[in-house]
Symmetry: C2
Subunit: 367 residues, 2 copies
């Protein structure tokens, strides 16, 4: 069956479609858009031979001219250099692209962030379709319209644009070629959604952990639809992150700092960093008397069962704090964190002290 | 006296203020914005010692922390390399910038295009104030929210964003340090506004040509306010250039091609290229029977009186056509041009032939 979640954003509303084999329907979907005659398919060097060519085949079968633009895979390449190279390739297409040209992103979050920012910037804004191929991209990058790249020294996602796609098509079967560790990164975000909005989702993951890890098509499609609905509700509520959208940063403040310290995914993958960030944030919430120790333990236990990191030694607490202050969500050097007030509910806290962060980060080293 | 033109764009509405000495009021204006504590002033290496330091002084006098970020002047530097360097500087400011940081552009169109795109992209969007210091920037770049950079091989303004400023402050006295040839480039846009919307503006320029060229404060402020009002009306009418905003491209289709052929302003300045483009477009309009030869002659005569180029030999008509097809306003390789249907009124034409363009470009070589 196909799940469809409508993302309601006024005239920029769009559908997230979720089903097995959906990549075959890309051509028909693109051809149904207004004035589409030319598409550029952006994907990384791993995805290009697997799904990039399949996307191009589907587009050409629907009589839409398609050009495949690959880039070297990896978070380390989500930078201005790759952005410039993609722009070079896009602007070299013959016949030349115009404002009706559509960009299609096929791949994980790195690809949708890069391709979405290319689409936002080329000719000051082209339409784009997002075809995520990892669970993390399915439940996170595919909703919200955030696109962008990292800055080599200052940090992650510091350069970019809010640019909503015209549609998202999630082919659940692509998860089968996704490495286990990448799958786990997506599950970290699923747990996050449960903690911030819906304990029922935590129940669902606890009940189906093995089936999910085995990539069962129906169960993962259900999981993805549940998560997209939660993220969509948060985003529709507050598109520009002025308020409640910040709830999605739960686990990401300390998580990003851990990731940055490790040099963007070289040693700590995003999902593991977020898992550590959630454990630390839950620890802080317990210390402040916001939640019971049992609730924190449940989150930690689920993350561990999914194979995610819940402990890490040797973190420099001073550096963690320094990076948190540099985070673009910090305000005037003041650190903001999202902490649970009960499972399924979080709040924004602006009174975070270096000591509380240091204590929580140190606790990550404990058994 | 101070002129204020309100640019009506819903919640992104803002004022364009026009007066002599207005740069001194920048600090007070920034301090009056919500949550402003930190400003980055972007200007080129020529403007930095003249008006960049004055802007910083005004900001600091109003208790707003200000950092001057200069870049090497010139259209040739309006590219991804300078964008990256500005981003590096912006993200290196201590304490780190956050979403309340405001970017101020002080300079000509190159500066507002670059600084506006930096503001659009840093942390996925910072507010910005625009302080134009050339007539061209006053009447063109300051209204419309277009920001962006050139691509080294594919063409001008192909990478960028629509990002409205929070305010525009035009200090008319800065025109006094502007070279004559830069002043003339602005006058080409003023003539354009007259041709596309209001013959009264053509009368005003004809009546005040010498006073304007002498930078009389009151007359130039009046001229700028008239032009900002015309551009604002067109932009408010059609913010995303889907329709009537395209009228502003009058003179720019062939003009851009001439500029591109010459290598971005090395030998043909933007205003001279636009003047040539307007002469060519008027020629085409006469040939199609849209306007009388007298009307075309009036436009050509006024441009010539203002010291703008109205003839050019040796243009490769084939290359001009090729570049026009690459223009981002072209659709599926089809060239679109704006032609006058009478003075003060233009229309969009999608049936432009290479032969008609070649004939008009060849006519530019005639005495």
């Amino acid at each position: 069956m196909e799940w469809i979640v409508r993302i309601k954003l006024g005239y920029r509303s769009y559908d997230v479609r979720i089903a097995g084999g959906l990549l075959e329907a890309l051509g028909a979907a693109a051809a149904a858009m207004e004035n589409v005659h030319q598409v550029a398919v952006i994907c990384d060097s791993n995805v290009a031979p697997l799904y990039g060519t399949r996307a191009v085949g589907s587009l050409e079968a629907a009589d839409v001219s398609a050009t495949l633009i690959p880039f070297d895979s990896g978070e380390a390449n989500k930078n201005l250099k790759t952005f410039a190279a993609l722009m070079d390739s896009l602007l070299a297409i013959e016949p030349a692209i115009d404002r009706n040209t559509v960009v299609v992103a096929v791949g994980g979050g790195v690809t949708s962030d890069l391709a979405g920012y290319v689409a936002a910037s080329a000719l000051r804004g082209l339409r784009w379709l997002c075809c995520p191929t990892t669970l993390l991209a399915d439940v996170d990058a595919s909703v919200g319209g955030k696109t962008g790249i990292n800055h080599n020294t200052a940090g992650k996602n510091l350069i970019g644009a809010f640019h909503q796609p015209s549609g998202v098509m999630i082919d659940v079967e692509t998860l089968r070629t996704q490495p286990d560790d990448v799958m786990k990164c997506g599950l970290a975000e699923c747990v996050k959604h449960g903690v911030i909005r819906e304990t029922g989702l935590l129940d669902f993951i606890e009940d189906n952990a093995e089936t999910i890890l085995a990539r069962d098509t129906e169960v993962t499609a259900d999981l993805i639809a549940r998560n997209v609905e939660i993220k969509a509700a948060v985003v529709a509520d507050d598109e520009r992150e002025a308020g409640r959208r910040a709830h999605l940063n739960f686990g990401h403040t300390i998580g990003h700092a851990i990731e940055t310290l490790a040099g963007y995914g070289k040693t700590v993958r995003h999902g593991h960093a977020v898992a550590l960030g959630m454990v630390a944030a839950c620890h802080m919430a317990v210390k402040r008397g916001l939640i019971e120790a049992d609730a924190a333990a449940r989150v930690r236990r689920l993350l561990e069962r999914l194979g995610l990191s819940v402990r890490r030694k040797g973190l420099d607490t001073g550096k963690v704090w320094q990076i948190m202050q540099h985070d673009k969500k910090a305000r005037g050097g003041r650190v903001r964190m999202i902490l649970p007030t009960m499972l399924g509910q979080v709040d924004i806290f602006d009174d975070i002290t270096p000591a509380a962060v240091a204590e929580a980060v140190e606790a990550l080293a404990a058994k």
